[in-house]
């Protein structure tokens, strides 16, 4: 597992929001698995760290939760995006793209910088 990247603080929230947007209401385990799959197993995610992040998003009103039944008939707490969550996802995505674009320009060797 040595070459797996840790999850940055802050980016986990964005991943969670995006995951829920993509898959609709989903329980914590599902979100964790999905994040791992999407990352191509390149992320080392302690599933436990997901729950405080979910709690924070819920406290901030980006997601809401209710109990439901999973595909294989297990009772679980499902999270869905709220209207504020959609908005948050949009701004956060934009912010992230901007940041990465700026960073990419720094990191790629370029004539302009010389």
């Amino acid at each position: 597992m040595g070459d797996k990247a840790d999850v940055w603080q802050g980016t986990l929230a964005l991943m969670v929001l995006k995951t829920i947007e993509a898959l609709g209401p989903l329980h914590g385990y599902g979100i964790a698995r999905r994040i791992e799959q999407i990352s191509g197993d390149a992320l080392s995610l302690n599933y436990g760290t997901l729950y405080p992040a979910l709690l924070k998003l819920e406290q901030e009103g980006a997601i809401a939760s209710e109990w439901g039944v999973s595909d294989n008939n297990r009772k679980a707490k499902f999270y869905r995006l709220t209207r504020a969550g959609h908005k948050l996802l949009a701004t956060e995505t934009r912010n992230w793209e901007q940041t990465t674009a700026i960073l990419a320009r720094f990191l790629s060797p370029s004539e302009d910088l010389a």
Partner: protein, 886 residues
């Protein structure tokens, strides 16, 4: 916005909530189930599937803990838990808790209550516009550093000065007010027209005096105090324009002063009249009866003002040598004029409470030390279980803060109550003259002061136990402690610190005791000072004859003869005298004399002047040294005579017989010349603590006044005679106003100087008593603790054959050393402290040996008892048990 929402939710989440906890558990469990299902599907064994799921989660409990921390605010939660724990700890140990809280509350209560008084009288600004620009303006003569002005001098000062924006005057003036229910005495003040403008006070109703309304021929006008308006006129809005008859003269009411207005030197004054000079005093340059109040111009200092007035006074001295010889000027901040005499007493009391607070704090701190010592084991256990140093310190600080908070709240609440109580203990008459005390209470400044003490206490209380554990020792030495259980050498640090605290406490107690002792002795000497008269069985009654009915001197002389004649026939009356003023009141009402047939020394030969009847000296049983008393027949028709006191005889006739010598005024006008016919032993005319001044006594019938005091020696209880006296006088003339009646002893007992000294003695004695108790309790605590620490040592000693006597010796010697050091330091400090309050002592030196010896003896005895009890316990130790207790 969302942040805020999240914080609020977390704040709410800090409170314990079972449902949420339950839900969290369910969610984690569901997560695990889902994961296990997946793992099983992937072909794992059930055991392994669960293990993998938990591993991937990162632990069930830690996940829950992360969520809990996110759910609430961890710092706040810890704090709440600490407070809960502290409360539980304190409740488990009610003796310790109550004692510590009470000590703190006691110290706090005393300090805050006295500070309340200090604030109300010394700190709170006077209720005038820019009060720090206001000054009291006086003339200055050798006998009076602050003497009254004369009206003509005032007019010149007002005209010539360049330092005051305005300069105004007021004059004491009791007045007789005619009401529907007859003539009543009332307190009034005459002020110059700009007086209220100078103070910056505006009437709430009507108008202020107009310029010129204080001139001789202006119509008589008066402003009412708010209280007079409320009580005499029921707050009637139409009062302005009405007429009130004061001293037989109709005055027009022109306005009402604000409710919060007060002018302490003249309270409770109901009528504020325009000055309007009249009579034979106001217009005479040598008659000094008014006080000045000036508002300094911007940028002018008191020193410049004084210099300016002094040069004017010099000029007047040249211009009017007969009246103004030796008349200088004096200027002082108005606040000092008003509360000046209170300052040393209040500051002394505040220092006293400071010392008391020190002892109380020291005691509470040493209690805390003992307690933390006995908790060494608990700390060791908690630290071994993983409590970090910061966490342990926080816990102790929290406990200290809880104690301080409880103590301070209790202290401040009881201080509020104590202030009210003390205020109620002040006699109404005195309280009326201290209007600045009316709104005494917990105001902002007092609360800040209390807060300061609380902060200090908080620092001490949270640091003491932390220091005790010695920050480096937490952790490193813990294993020893765990094994040792707080036995042996670990107590030494505490014993040293505790001993030092006790020495400080004892020394402080000595200072307070010595202060109380010296003040008590002063009071005793004061009340037993030689009065030159016998005060027992003497009733007195102040009387005012209406000037309209008794305009001529002969009428007054005839009136007093009738009064004396009538009262002499009353049952139980031995003798009756009349005096212009009661002895033991104040030095003043002076006259300047010059001796006939001698070159003038050009000095102020200032003496007390008293006008007394023939029976005055015999009634008071003053002792005649030479010559004779007056006779009743000596009135204006007879040669003018005078009796002098011993002080006058000694000062002006040191080597001659004064009998037959003649004295007169500074110009030796023929009608002022009087022959000395007698010398009496000094009668104390001034207050108990003031010096004896030279005094001349003139026959009342040759120099009568409308205000005089009837003095009656009786064989019965003197208080019961007063109504009879009043009745008898009203029978002679119902228009005569009788003012306060009192017994001579009461008058002396309640005189301001006696009252001041007495209150100081009571309060300081109270502090000293508390200090003694607290100090001795502190000593007891230290010695007991030391005994409990040394039980094993004592056991060993006894097992090796030490006698019980030597154990007593061991413990008492340790206590004795502390006591001796404490007393020695205390005595040294006491002498220093007493010399600081020399002004409050009367007849005792600050190093009064009997007092200091008595203090040392009292404290020594109390300390002996306090250390004997634990010593007996030590001597009663059973060596076998002491050793087995290990």
């Amino acid at each position: 916005m969302n942040r805020l929402r999240a914080w609020l939710l977390r704040l709410a989440g800090t409170l314990p909530n079972e449902r949420r906890e339950h839900e969290l558990a369910a969610e984690i469990e569901a997560h695990l189930q889902l994961h296990i299902d997946d793992n099983l599907r992937a072909g794992m064994a059930p055991e392994q599937a669960r293990r993998e799921a938990i591993l991937k989660l990162g632990g069930v409990e830690s996940t829950k803990q992360f969520c809990r921390e996110r759910n609430g605010i961890p710092l706040l939660e810890n704090l709440l838990r600490d407070v809960q724990f502290a409360l539980r700890q304190l409740r488990k140990n009610p003796g310790f808790t109550c004692t510590a809280v009470l000590m703190l509350a006691l110290g706090m209560c005393a300090a805050v209550a006295i500070f309340g008084f200090v604030d109300a009288s010394l700190i709170k600004p006077l209720p005038y516009r820019n009060p720090n620009r206001l000054v009291g303006v006086f003339e200055k003569v050798p006998l009076f550093p602050q003497s009254n002005l004369s009206y003509p001098d005032y007019l010149d000062w007002k005209k010539l000065n360049a330092v005051f924006g305005s300069l105004d005057v007021y004059r004491h003036d009791g007045c007789i007010v005619n009401t529907a229910s007859g003539a009543q005495p009332a307190m009034g003040t005459r002020v110059s027209d700009g007086f209220f403008r100078t103070l910056g006070v505006v009437p709430v109703l009507g108008r202020d005096f107009r310029t010129g309304e204080d001139l001789r021929d202006a119509p008589a006008t008066v402003l009412l105090s708010y209280t007079a308006w409320q009580t005499r006129y029921g707050g009637n809005q139409n009062v302005v324009g009405k007429t009130v008859t004061l001293d037989g003269v109709p005055h027009t009411i022109i306005g009402v002063l604000p409710a919060d207005f007060h002018f302490a030197p003249r309270e409770p004054s109901e009528f504020w009249m325009a000055f309007q000079p009249a009579g034979n005093c106001d217009l005479r340059r040598s008659c000094h009866g008014i006080y000045g109040v000036g508002r300094l111009k911007d940028g002018t200092t008191i020193e410049t003002a004084l210099a300016d007035l002094t040069s004017i006074a010099k000029q007047l001295e040249k211009q009017y040598p007969d009246s103004n010889r030796g008349q200088g000027a004096a200027v002082a901040p108005l606040s000092e004029v008003i509360v000046g005499p209170l300052r040393p007493i209040l500051l002394m009391l505040l220092s006293g409470t400071g010392l008391l607070l020190l002892i109380a704090g020291g005691n509470a701190a040493s209690l805390l030390l003992v307690r933390s010592e006995s908790r060494t084991r608990e700390i060791a256990v908690r630290s071994a279980l993983g409590a970090g140093r910061a966490r342990l310190v926080t816990q102790f600080v929290t406990e200290g803060l809880v104690l301080v908070a409880a103590g301070c709240l209790l202290g401040v609440a009881s201080a509020n109550w104590t202030m009210k109580l003390l205020l109620r203990l002040i006699p109404q008459d005195y309280l009326a003259s201290m209007p600045y005390l009316y709104d005494l209470g917990l105001n902002g400044r007092v609360l800040v002061f209390a807060g300061g003490i609380a902060l200090l206490a908080a620092v001490v209380f949270s640091l003491t136990p932390t220091l005790h554990f010695g920050l480096p020792r937490i952790g490193s030495g813990m294993r020893d402690k765990l094994a040792d259980g707080g036995r042996g050498s670990s107590g030494n640090t505490w014993r040293r610190l505790g001993s030092r605290l006790v020495v400080v406490e004892l020394a402080t107690a000595v200072v307070l005791l010595a202060g109380a002792g010296l003040l008590g002795k002063s009071l005793y000497l004061l009340l037993n000072v030689n009065l030159g008269l016998r005060p027992d069985h003497v009733a007195t009654l102040a009387v005012a004859a209406p000037p309209a009915n008794y305009a001529k001197d002969e009428q007054l002389a005839a009136l007093t003869r009738r009064i004396v004649g009538r009262i002499e026939t009353l049952p139980g009356v031995r003798s009756v005298g009349i005096g212009s003023q009661l002895p033991v009141s104040y030095n003043g009402n002076t006259d300047w004399i010059r001796i006939a047939g001698r070159p003038y020394n050009e000095l102020h030969n200032e003496v007390n002047e008293r006008d007394v009847s023939a029976g005055f000296f015999t009634t008071l049983q003053a002792k005649l040294l030479r010559g004779r008393y007056f006779t009743d027949a000596e009135d204006a028709s007879k040669p003018r005579v005078v009796i002098v006191n011993q002080a006058l005889a000694k000062k002006y006739f040191p080597s001659e017989d004064p009998i037959g010598k003649r004295i007169g005024d500074t110009e030796l006008k023929p009608k002022s010349i009087r022959e000395i016919i007698g010398v009496v032993e000094d009668v104390r005319e001034g207050s108990l603590d003031s010096e004896i001044w030279p005094a001349e006594y003139l026959p009342f019938n040759q120099s009568p006044d409308h205000y005089f005091t009837v003095i009656v020696r009786t064989s019965q209880e003197e208080r019961t005679l007063i109504p009879t006296l009043t009745g008898a006088i009203h029978q002679i003339d119902p228009h005569i106003v009788t003012l306060k009646g009192t017994s001579m002893e009461e008058a002396i007992h309640d005189s301001p100087s006696a009252y001041m000294h007495r209150s100081a003695v009571w309060l300081v004695s109270g502090f000293a008593f508390l200090a003694l108790v607290l100090g001795v309790v502190g000593l007891y605590g230290v010695v007991s603790y030391s005994v409990s620490q040394r039980t094993r040592e004592i056991g060993v000693r006894m097992a090796l054959g030490a006698e019980r006597g030597s154990i007593y010796d061991l413990i008492l010697r340790e206590a004795g050393r502390l006591v001796l050091v404490g007393i020695a330091i205390g005595l040294a400090c006491a002498v220093g402290a007493a010399s600081l309050m020399k002004g409050l002592l009367f007849g005792v030196r600050s190093w009064d040996v009997p007092t200091l010896a008595a203090v040392a003896a009292v404290l020594g005895m109390a300390a002996l008892v306090a250390s004997y009890l634990p010593a007996r316990r030590a001597a009663g130790v059973n060596p076998v048990e002491a050793l087995r207790a290990e």
